[in-house]
Symmetry: C2
Subunit: 107 residues, 2 copies
């Protein structure tokens, strides 16, 4: 794969995560969702920072302590510091949502 | 700015580079071009690796020693190892080309 929009699955029982590039400090992933959300009560609590952009589709990302999720559409990005707890409340069931995520650490 | 497609310039005499996130190991940039190319005889020779994707628009990227440039369109990405010499031969003059680049080092 060398295009973010190719090799997209037609049937997607779980989120699809592919590593596009990585070294000891950074990992770049394409994540494909279709209607997936984090399980009830689950929060991501990551060792690394994550910069993430929605390339296509739509998603709602909830940060712990916030009343309302952030509704992300094509081109929207957020930088999530390590250990900032968050969860995916919703991704649109109408089309594939393609995320590009860059995970990076301080060490 | 928190969307890759917002705050796009209307007049762009030079390439526009904005840092979206960075720490000591990684730097994430949005680069906007419109018909820009590298100066004649110029080659990028970078200390860091660069993973780069064309989000919108089109560009031709030439690697030293190659006969033909890589024609990149929306979603196309390449990983450019440090010191792999390359240049931008062309970006489309018909619309803005938006690149997302992740620079990362091994140290």
């Amino acid at each position: 794969m060398n295009n973010l929009f190719t090799d997209l699955p037609t049937d997607l029982p779980e989120e699809l995560v592919e590593v596009l590039a990585e070294n000891k400090h950074v990992r770049i992933e394409r994540i494909v969702s279709t209607g997936h959300a984090s399980p009830d009560g689950f929060w991501y609590d990551q060792e690394e920072h994550e910069w993430v952009v929605v390339i296509k589709g739509e998603a709602k990302l909830l940060f712990e302590g916030d009343d309302e999720p952030v509704h992300m559409k094509s081109g929207d990005f957020v930088n999530i510091p390590a250990h900032r707890k968050h969860r995916v409340e919703w991704t649109t069931p109408n089309e594939l949502t393609v995320w590009l995520a860059v995970f990076y650490g301080d060490n």
